[in-house]
């Protein structure tokens, strides 16, 4: 005497019954689209090795994500495309020509350790790509700081070189405000021209060199409302103001070289690891810029962008708490 269960039920859910139609995968797709110009620029400047690095990182991240979810017996999350974003961001933060096995190790670390161990997308306290980069920088210091010359495949004489950042670090040691010493003058002359910095014709990580391509991607993200202006503006403004006060290399060089552009527009704006409120985002961006510049001036590494963002990642929950919005009508 079992009652018949009519097959078709209405769906019962709590209001609202309407949705903006946004989705995590659409957001991730937008980030991927926004990263395409700089990926293309990186490939143009660094050639085939860049292609391999990008392909390896993306593929490894996807496979690692799938394996991790399987091992944890949870539903697959490949569809949300966050693994692709992590792989792409990691590749763009690596020097071209890095041995591919290192890229594999880094990608496995990014997804396996920095993301899935914490429970997957949304639970990770640190940006997976940056955590992996920091891990690789410590483990493979040599290869991670060996830079291909841009467009080496056109003029294949000297293949590797130093980054502008290393040169700029030297500038802090000397007094370059008073009529510059020969050393400093030399370093300044060695710096790429402003134009080269904008298009990306300088040594560096695959995705960080072309400021113009990064700006294009950032504009796309702003237009799609994927990110808000707060973090990038606060980050870059802090870098500019700091370099105006502290001297050293010119402000435009501080912004356009190294990881500041990609960091401010793509890494620091990672939702999961940055504050949710506008005020929190401004604090977060300011902190990133400040720590980045402190490391550039006083740290033992020439570049401090990744570490700055990682440190601020750790502070994000606190910032969230400090900057909790005041409810409408609350005292």
């Amino acid at each position: 005497m079992k009652p018949k269960d009519t097959a078709e039920h209405f769906i019962l859910s709590s209001s609202p019954h309407a949705h903006a139609d946004s989705s995590v995968s659409r957001i991730m797709l937008d980030v991927i689209i926004a990263l395409l110009p700089t990926t293309a620029a990186g490939i143009w400047f660094f050639g085939l090795p860049a292609v391999w690095t990008v392909a390896t990182c993306v593929a490894t991240c996807i496979v690692t994500e799938a394996l991790c979810r399987m091992a944890m017996k949870r539903e697959s999350t490949i569809g949300d495309m966050s693994a692709i974003v992590t792989g792409l961001l990691l590749a763009l933060n690596l020097p071209a020509g890095l041995p591919l096995w290192m890229a594999v190790v880094g990608s496995v670390f990014a997804i396996g350790v920095a993301k899935q161990v914490f429970g997957g997308l949304g639970m990770n306290p640190f940006n997976p790509a940056l955590a992996a980069r920091a891990f690789m920088l410590i483990s493979f210091t040599g290869p991670m700081t060996t830079w291909l010359k841009p467009l080496w495949w056109k003029t294949p004489e000297a293949m590797t070189t130093a980054t502008p950042l290393a040169l700029m670090k030297g500038l802090y040691a000397v007094d370059c405000t008073a009529s510059a010493t020969p050393h400093a003058r030399h370093a300044l002359e060695e710096l790429p021209s402003l134009c080269d910095m904008l298009v990306g014709n300088m040594p560096g990580c695959i995705g960080e060199v072309s400021a113009a391509a990064l700006a294009l991607g950032a504009v796309y993200l702003l237009w799609r409302k994927v990110i808000t202006w707060h973090i990038p503006v606060a980050f870059i403004a802090t870098v500019v103001v700091y370099s105006l006060i502290a001297g050293g290399a010119p402000a435009y060089a501080q912004v356009l070289t190294g990881g500041v552009m990609i960091g401010a527009c793509f890494m620091a704006t990672d939702y999961v690891t940055s504050p949710t409120t506008s005020a929190g985002k401004l604090v977060f961006g300011f902190g990133c810029g400040l720590i980045c510049m402190l490391i550039r001036q006083f740290g033992s590494y020439p570049e401090g962008c990744s570490f700055a963002i990682l440190i601020m990642n750790a502070l994000a929950p606190l910032i969230n708490r400090w900057t909790r919005p005041r409810p409408f009508g609350a005292k």
């Binding site: 209001s15 949705h19 997308l121 949710t276 409810p327 409408f328």
Partner: protein, 460 residues
């Protein structure tokens, strides 16, 4: 009288697809009395009315079915004549059971029963006293028809020491699909005008603000015409199109720039009374004609109903009858919603009846329905930006998810108006609003338990 643009924009809010074109332009149709009515004793906020009829009684249209039961309560009348089949607990749309009178309207009146409709004596509002008018509003069974169903006579009678400075007429109708208020303003503008004059008298001549969203230019024009020769401080305030413009607090802010403090503060604490246009029209009828509130205009709409309509149906009409009156279902219905898409209730059956607060009935096909998911929050901040109460909705939802009601309370969850803007915006499809509800429920339960304990201790 003049028309002005809203000077104040609240933070947050969202732009859902309005889909109003479905029922807009469909003149209000009066629905014939269906064969069976199920009249709930709990059509308003507060204590359910006390049922005074029993199975087997013959009731006449306008006859009292349930008495007002306490201060925050309104009486319930028979929307049509018929035989009481039973009095039994029935589900309302919100999921609670309340006693309901089931009336067979096809039964003939027994010998000797005067079957003429019962009405109240018409009142001349110009000469009637404030007390007479207030009593009339209550006797006619009028409560807020916008959604919450707060007894209107309570609202119109501010506690001593509080004065109403602004009477705000809520014609925003910011819920998607719904056009009932819109059409009321178009077709019964004179009723609205009269209702406003009566309410103004009851409240001691406050300034009047008529709030209408900018997407209803015809309603604005109709109101301008109806109120053209009114004296005193009356303004039509054109609000920008933004959900939840119709929320009491946000409407007060948008029209007069005042901010209602956190609960338990009420609009009257900042000198405002907000009333829905449907309620106002009902007041006009109750006073001028002595008419009891026995029917209301409901928008039946959605992409799975044959003919979307604005229907004036007797209270207690079953959803299934309403749907049949609108040509029946069109294709498979995936979700049946009592109310609008942002704050309405999904129901499991069409065997539920309309009440004084049923502003809409939506039939949505699978294409218009989305599924919530148990994905983790990606911290994108969209909910925080969307929340009109400026709450950190993500934080609240995460706390409730891990059963940490205390943190949710610290994050001001009690201020949440359950507008749904957060869930609407969440790319991870998290049921944030439901998390807020859950927290509010358990906090309320805890407070009630504490009160009961304190009362028991005091009794000892």
């Amino acid at each position: 009288m003049k028309t002005v643009k809203s000077q104040f924009k609240f933070k947050g809010g969202v732009h859902p697809d309005y889909n109003k074109e479905l029922a807009r332009g469909k003149a209000i149709e009066r629905m014939p009395v269906p064969a069976e009515l199920v009249v709930s004793m709990s059509q308003h906020l507060g204590a359910p009315a006390k049922c005074i009829v029993k199975a087997g009684d013959y009731v006449v249209k306008g006859q009292l079915l349930g008495e007002r039961n306490g201060f925050i309560s309104v009486p319930v009348y028979a929307p049509a004549s018929g035989l009481v089949k039973s009095v039994e607990p029935r589900f309302g749309p919100a999921g609670g059971k309340a006693p309901a009178v089931v009336i067979d309207t096809t039964a003939a009146a027994p010998e000797g029963v005067d079957a003429t409709e019962r009405t109240l004596a018409p009142l001349d509002w110009k000469t009637a006293t404030k007390e007479e008018l207030l009593a009339r509003v209550n006797d006619a069974g009028i409560c807020g028809m916008g959604g919450a169903g707060f007894p209107t006579c309570v609202k119109l009678n501010p506690p001593p020491g509080k004065r109403c400075e602004y009477l705000i007429l809520n014609g925003a109708e910011c819920e998607p699909y719904l056009c009932a208020d819109h059409h009321l303003m178009l077709e019964r503008a004179d009723r609205v005008r009269l209702g406003v004059e009566i309410m103004r008298k009851i409240l001691g001549m406050p300034a009047v603000r008529i709030a209408i969203e900018a997407n209803k230019p015809d309603a604005i024009a109709a109101m301008e015409k109806a109120f053209a020769d009114i004296d005193g401080n009356v303004e039509i305030v054109v609000l920008p199109v933004l959900y939840p413009q119709g929320s009491e607090k946000h409407q007060i802010f948008a029209t007069v720039g005042r901010v209602v403090p956190e609960p338990p503060a009420l609009p009257i604490d900042v000198g405002c009374v907000v009333e829905n246009v449907g309620t106002v029209a009902a007041i006009a009828d109750a006073v001028e004609k002595g008419a009891i509130l026995l029917s209301r205009v409901t928008t039946v709409s959605g992409d799975a109903v044959a003919e979307p309509k604005n229907v004036e149906a007797p209270l207690g009409t079953k959803y299934s009858d309403l749907i049949a009156f609108c040509g029946g279902e069109k294709g498979r219905v995936a979700k049946l919603i009592s109310g609008g898409t942002m704050m309405g209730f999904a129901v499991s059956t069409a065997d539920i009846s309309t009440t004084k607060t049923t502003s809409g009935l939506l039939l949505l096909s699978g294409r218009r329905v989305f599924q919530y998911s148990s994905q983790a929050c990606i911290n994108c901040g969209r909910c925080v930006r969307a929340c009109p109460m400026n709450l950190n909705a993500a934080e609240i939802a995460k706390a409730v998810e891990s059963d940490d009601i205390k943190s949710a309370e610290d994050a001001h969850v009690m201020t949440c108006i359950e507008c749904g803007a957060c869930s609407f915006s969440c790319p991870a499809y998290r049921p944030i609003t439901q998390f807020c509800r859950r927290a509010k429920n358990s906090i309320r339960a805890r407070i009630a338990a504490e009160k009961a304990k304190a009362a028991a201790a005091a009794a000892k």
